[in-house]
Symmetry: C2
Subunit: 216 residues, 2 copies
Amino acid sequence: MSKIQTSTAKRRKMSDIRKDNLKQILLSAENLFAERGYTSTTISAIASQAGLPKANVLYYFKTKETLYKEVLTQLLVLWMQHMDEMTSEQHPNEALPRYILQKMKQSKQHPNASRIFAAEILHGAPYLREQLQTDLKAQFIKTCQVFHDWIAKKWMDPISPEHLLFLIWSSTQAYSDYALQSSLLMDKEELGDNDFETGLELISRLVLKGCGINLV
Amino acid sequence: MSKIQTSTAKRRKMSDIRKDNLKQILLSAENLFAERGYTSTTISAIASQAGLPKANVLYYFKTKETLYKEVLTQLLVLWMQHMDEMTSEQHPNEALPRYILQKMKQSKQHPNASRIFAAEILHGAPYLREQLQTDLKAQFIKTCQVFHDWIAKKWMDPISPEHLLFLIWSSTQAYSDYALQSSLLMDKEELGDNDFETGLELISRLVLKGCGINLV
DNA sequence: TAAAATTCTGACCCCTCGGTCAGGTTTTGG
DNA sequence: CCAAAACCTGACCGAGGGGTCAGAATTTTA
C-alpha cells in the first residue's frame, strides 16, 4: 500500500510526515484524555484514532506517561495565557472584563484543554505539581499584585485578590468542565453562543459590581 | 483468629457487622474514587483500606460498577441538599447567602463527594445522566423559578437564573475541586477555615451586589 | 547506488485487574 | 441441638493493557 505512493506523496519530506504524525497523535490523545481520563484512555485507542498502529505511537512517545506529559505542558501554556495582559496601569473596568472574555473564549474553543487540566488537579496534580508551583505561581503572584495596586488606587474595593482570581477561574472554567451538566439541565444538545454570551455578561457584571469598580 | 472471638464480639448481631462492613466499604470507596478516579481505583485497594479481603467486597457488591453507582447516588442526595430551602417568599438577601454558605460547608466537609461528582460530569456523566435529567433537573427548574419570582418582585436585577446558579455552583465547588491548586498557589498544606471564610464572603458579596439585592 | 540511519510494525510478553467458585465458617430458626 | 441459611475467603481464570523487539520498509548520506 505504501509502495504505491504517488510521486506527489513521495515529494513530501520525511520531517513533514513526522510532524503530521506527531500532531495527529497529540490531537487524538488530547481528545481521548479529555473524554475518558488518563487511565481509561488506551494507547491503542489513541493510535486507531490517529490512524496509526499502536507500536508506531510508542515509537514517537516511549511511554503513555510521556505522551500525557507532553499534552499537559502544551495545555498549561494555553491555560496561563492572557493573565499577564492585566497591568496595574490599566483600569480594572477594562482589564478584568477582557480577561474574563479571554477565559470564556478558551472554555468555548478549547474545552478539552480545560477538562484535562481540571481532571489533573482533581486527582492531585501528579504530573503538573512542579509547574503549578513555579510557572503558574509566579504569574499568580504577579496578578494578585496588580489587583492590590488597583485596590490601593481606590479603583476597586478591598477584596481578596487570590479569591477573586479563584472565582473568575472557576466560573469561567465551568463553561467547559460542567458544560454537560448545564446542557442537560437546559435541555440542549450542547451550549450555544448565546449561553457563553449570557455567562460572560453575568460573570463580568458580578465581578465589576461586586468589587465596586466604577464604570468610567 | 476469628475463632478466638470474645463473647463480647459474639454478642454483636450479624446485621450490625453487615452494616459496619457496608459502611467501611462505601467509605473507603468514596475516598479512593475521589482520589484516583473510577478506573484507577482497584477493588483490592478498596478492600485493603476497608480491612477486608477482596472477595468479601465482591460479596457485598457484585461488581465494581454497582459499588460506584451506590457511592454516586448517596452523593447526589448530598449535592442537591439545601437547594429547596430557597423559596419565593424569602428575601434573596437572606436566602442566597444561606445557600452559598451551605454549599461552602459541603465543599469543606465533604470534598470527596464534590470531587467524585465533578469527575463524573467531566467524563460525560455515564452513570449519573438519568438522575441529572430527572431529579436534579426538577429541582433546578424550581429554583430558577424562585429566582424569577424574586426578579418579578424587584428584589433583584433581571439576571439569568440559570447562569447565576451555575456561577454559585462552580465558585463554591471550586473550594473542593480546586482546593489543591489553591493551596499550592498560596503555599499552604491545605485550605484553612479562614480561606473558606474569605471565599464565602467574596462569593456572597459578588452575588448580592452584582444582582442588585438591597441590604434590608 | 550502496550502506547507514531512520522510521515503521506485527507478534509477543508479562502483569494487573475484575470477577468466579468451591468449600469453609458463622448465624439463625425451629 | 441440628439443619438450613447467610456469610466469608483463598485460589484461580480470562481479558486487556502497557511496553518490547526483531526485522522490514523507507529515507538519507556519501
